[in-house]
């Protein structure tokens, strides 16, 4: 088990090197001069431009820039953003917010998705099932920003239950609406996946055998149907984590959440290499860790899976 975890963590090293290189290259290849763009309409004196270039190593060839960046990372220095703020400082400020938002979203999508999927699967062909299918299909088809605007208008303006944008300090109450929006697409997928999985498990021989032993329905559903049905759902959650991070970028932009997504979005627009690469590296790292955790959880749910040394 420990050997398996260690191997997985070692595997993460080439993945991290590969992703940072790719992203660094893409930021480098973006059209436009970031220094010039920084000054907007004004034209700064050439000496200022020169000194800025030197400071951010923009006068060096690409590969040298990349290795300088890598070396700094190993020393724990994530670099400085164009506004002069250390990237690590920005990370510390934005991460807790996004983490809270993501945790709320995962909570919504799991609790609501699995519950509705389970009921739907158990009452296959009924009115509840039919409506759940239609609604989930609509939610999957909607682009996340459309949904965000609709929700902002309906809950924020029409009903007035929530504030349409997140206030300073990102209080949890303000995060409910963006979290729901963020959770929506995954929620709809989980409803459908759980439903299909429950229907499949419900038809298995061992479920009939459980009933033939004299077990009541109230025991069979959670013990013999739900647990087995969760295995594919958990696998989906791992893959889905990527979707969640992409969604966070859009959702945080719309709801003005001071989190990682919005900061990353702005950094991409400004062509701030160090900020973008640092943020993405951290995201990749989290993605890898989450996937490892899900794989371990998978083994807990399904005893047939045991990881070899």
């Amino acid at each position: 088990m420990a050997g398996y975890i260690l191997r997985r963590l070692l595997q993460a090293i080439p993945v991290l090197l590969g992703t940072t290189f790719l992203i660094y290259f893409m930021v480098f290849a973006m059209p436009g001069d970031p220094i010039v763009a920084l000054f907007g309409d004004k034209t700064p004196p050439p000496s200022v431009i020169e000194s800025l270039r030197e400071r951010y190593h923009l006068d060096q060839p690409f590969i040298v820039q990349y290795f300088i960046f890598l070396g700094n990372i190993f020393r724990g220095d994530l670099g400085v953003s164009f506004s002069g703020q250390p990237v690590s400082e920005i990370l510390m400020a934005t991460f807790p917010v996004t983490l809270r938002l993501a945790a709320m979203a995962v909570f919504f999508e799991m609790v609501a998705g699995i519950t509705i999927g389970l009921v739907s699967g158990l009452r296959k062909g009924g009115i509840f099932d039919a409506s759940a299918l239609v609604v989930s299909l609509i939610l999957i088809s909607l682009p996340i920003f459309v949904l965000a605007f609709v929700m902002q208008w309906f809950f924020g303006i029409y009903l007035g239950w929530f504030r349409t944008t997140v206030g300073p300090g990102a209080p949890t109450q303000d995060l409910i609406l963006p979290a729901i929006v963020l959770a929506t697409i995954s929620f709809a997928q989980i409803v459908r996946l759980t439903r299909a999985s429950v229907i499949e498990t419900g038809g298995q021989d061992f479920v009939r055998t459980a009933a033939s032993k004299g077990l009541s329905r109230n025991r069979i559903v959670p013990v013999h149907i739900l647990r087995n049905s969760l295995i594919p759902v958990v696998t989906y959650l791992a893959v889905d984590f990527g979707t969640l991070m992409v969604g966070a970028t859009v959702t945080e932009g719309i709801f003005n959440v001071p989190g990682v997504g919005r900061t990353l979005y702005q950094a991409i627009i400004r062509g701030e290499g160090p900020t973008v690469v640092s943020f993405v590296t951290i995201m990749v790292l989290i993605y890898l860790v989450v996937n490892l955790l899900v794989d371990l959880l998978y083994a807990v749910l399904d005893p047939r899976i045991r990881y070899a040394k």
Binding site: T209, A210, G214, L215
Partner: protein
């Protein structure tokens, strides 16, 4: 038909009325809602079962035997529902019982042992958990310790000696036979009055099957449990139950004491079943011992009465006669010291096939017999060059397979064709029958479009299927029809050698008999050489000339079929032979 089913109540020696029967099924109707309306799976079944008796329901797949069993405990799959009749358990009508009442009946009053040990245990819970849960639900014991104690007791009774140690293990760590013991233990956990065993051993090897059934028999006798046994094997049913009920297309066609039915079957369907069951046929050859005796035996009459002469004995005897008369043919296949070693990560090497040697003379059939895991299918794969050999030699038609590559191998494949076990998995569902059969002709560029079409018709005729099937798809055909298609495809290129890997194991007895006969006819007609792989010795008797018995990768016994059956040398072979169901049945020949 109604006359038969009305008169088909199983009567016992005891005077009627002296005792209330434990289970009484009256005019049971079970229907399934489909797109084409209601389909009746069970239509007017009457069964009466007294305490302490054993009764077997026999029939082929689709006869409604399992549906009847599921109807009794009200666990019909999908849209199935009881649409009429009564099921009286000790006077209580189960068709009118509430959900709660049914839950009290299941497990506590009626135990159920399902068919497939692989799919009937929940893979994510430990064995102990699943047995304890049955005990708790039926209120047999309360408190953690008492429940656990009873669970161990139940498993030990079911034949798991080291139950206390294995309670925490999961189903995938158990063999099929061990899982079936667990299921039997669960079925009997609450000491029910009635135990329904739905083909409890058909997924297991013959020797394991025998041990399990012996155990089930002694256990139910000890506990005084009434047994309702469901099987497709008439020999097995007659051996294990006092009373027989024969079902066909949802109706009871015949019922009564087992011995009586077997010796004097009345209904044409039962007569065909008796004639077709390989277990009985092989036993009969054994009993009569000579061609003349076999020819004059009752089965011919039975087969004639059925209007369809499926006479396996005649086929087998003709084969024995031909073999004796013919001069020894040159070998079509020579296998020498064939070995296959699989590398298994973490636990070293596994020798699946260990220095196996045999020869198959041209135009004859060799049967490779053994239990699952004995390496017989691996031999077939190496012979077909679908798997590389570790060492040893395979010579086909005078050519060493190891040296055959590229174009030559391609040509060799056209002369050596396989038929696999699963008629559902071995046909491409997206190709129609005509395309499926003619595909080898396209691949090997044989003939023109028109001549290929002719060949397909010819092959369909040969396997006795209507020509209209060319435009149909596999899912529209029955298992037996599909296996015939697989055989037709194998024959398309006029091969010299056909490798049949458990080709009839998945089929019902009547279909099995038809296919076996077809294979024998084709061999006589085309001079084919067969390598016939099976775990079922009963089938071997009627199809093979030579037998090789494999155990753990080695051939432990090799001889002609008669020698193996009359005078087995190895204990393992004797065990296999003794395990053929119907061994103890008196036949009315």
């Amino acid at each position: 038909m109604s006359e038969i089913s009305n008169g088909s109540n199983v009567q016992t020696e005891r005077a009627p009325g002296a005792e209330r029967p434990l289970l009484e099924i009256k005019n049971l109707q079970v229907g399934f809602n489909t797109q084409d309306g209601l389909v009746k799976a069970v239509d007017g079944v009457n069964i009466t079962l007294y305490r302490g008796q054993s009764l077997a329901i026999v029939g082929e797949s689709g006869s409604g035997k399992s549906t009847t069993a599921h109807a009794i405990i009200n666990l019909l799959p999908g849209t199935g529902h009881i649409s009429g009749g009564q099921i009286l358990l000790d006077g209580q009508d189960l068709t009118k019982a509430s959900k709660k009442d049914m839950e009290a009946v299941r497990g506590r009053k009626i135990g159920f042992v399902p068919q497939d040990p692989m799919s009937n245990l929940n893979p994510v819970w430990s064995i102990g958990f699943q047995v304890e849960e049955a005990i708790q639900a039926n209120g047999i014991a309360s408190g953690r310790k008492a429940v656990k104690k009873r669970a161990i007791e139940v498993l030990k009774e079911a034949g798991l000696g080291d139950a206390d140690r294995r309670m925490k293990q999961f189903p995938h760590q158990f063999s099929g036979g061990m899982r079936q013991r667990v299921l039997i233990g669960m079925g009997l956990a609450a000491d029910p009055q009635l135990l329904i065993a739905d083909e409890p051993t058909s997924a297991l090897d013959v020797t394991v099957q025998r041990v399990i059934l012996d155990h089930l028999e002694s256990l139910t006798r000890e506990l005084g449990t009434t047994l309702l046994f469901i099987t497709h094997d008439l020999g097995l049913a007659a051996e294990r139950a006092e009373q027989l009920v024969v079902m066909y297309k949802g109706k009871v066609v015949e019922s009564g004491p087992s011995a009586e039915i077997l010796q004097n079957p009345q209904h044409p369907y039962t007569q065909r079943l008796v004639a077709a069951a390989p277990s009985l046929a092989s036993r009969r050859i054994q009993a009569t011992g000579s061609i003349a005796a076999a020819e004059s035996s009752m089965h011919e009459g039975a087969a004639d009465a059925a209007g369809e002469a499926i006479d396996l004995i005649a086929t087998a005897e003709a084969r024995a006669g031909a073999l004796a008369a013919a001069p020894p043919a040159p070998p079509a296949i020579v296998v020498e010291d064939l070995t296959k070693v699989f590398k298994i990560r973490g636990s070293g090497d596994f020798t699946a096939v260990d220095k196996v040697s045999f020869q198959i003379p041209k135009g004859t059939t060799m049967a490779l017999v053994g239990e699952s895991g004995s390496g017989k299918s691996t031999v077939a794969k190496m012979l077909l060059k679908l798997e590389d050999t570790t060492s040893g030699k395979i010579v086909v038609g005078g050519k060493d397979l190891a040296s055959v590559t590229g174009k030559e191998l391609f040509n060799l494949r056209s002369r050596m064709q396989p038929v696999f076990q699963d008629p559902y998995g071995s046909l491409n569902p997206l190709r129609n029958i005509g395309n499926t059969i003619s595909e080898p002709l396209f691949t090997h560029k044989v003939g023109t479009v028109a001549s290929r079409r002719e060949r397909v018709y010819e092959l369909l005729d040969q396997v006795s299927l209507p020509r209209t099937l060319v435009s149909r798809y596999p899912n529209e055909l029955s298992g037996g029809q599909r296996q015939r298609i697989a055989i037709a495809r194998a024959l398309a290129l006029k091969p010299e050698i056909v490798v049949l890997d458990e080709a009839v194991s998945a089929l019902d007895v009547l279909v099995q008999a038809q296919i076996l006969r077809l294979l024998a006819d084709l061999q006589a007609e085309l001079g084919l050489t067969y390598l016939f792989i099976t775990h079922d010795l009963a089938v071997v008797r009627v199809i093979a000339d030579h037998v090789c018995v494999m155990q753990r990768g080695k051939i432990v016994e090799a001889a002609t079929t008669d020698e193996v059956f009359d005078n087995p040398q190895q204990q393992y072979t004797k065990d296999l032979l003794a395990a053929i169901p119907g061994a103890n049945i008196e036949l009315g020949a």
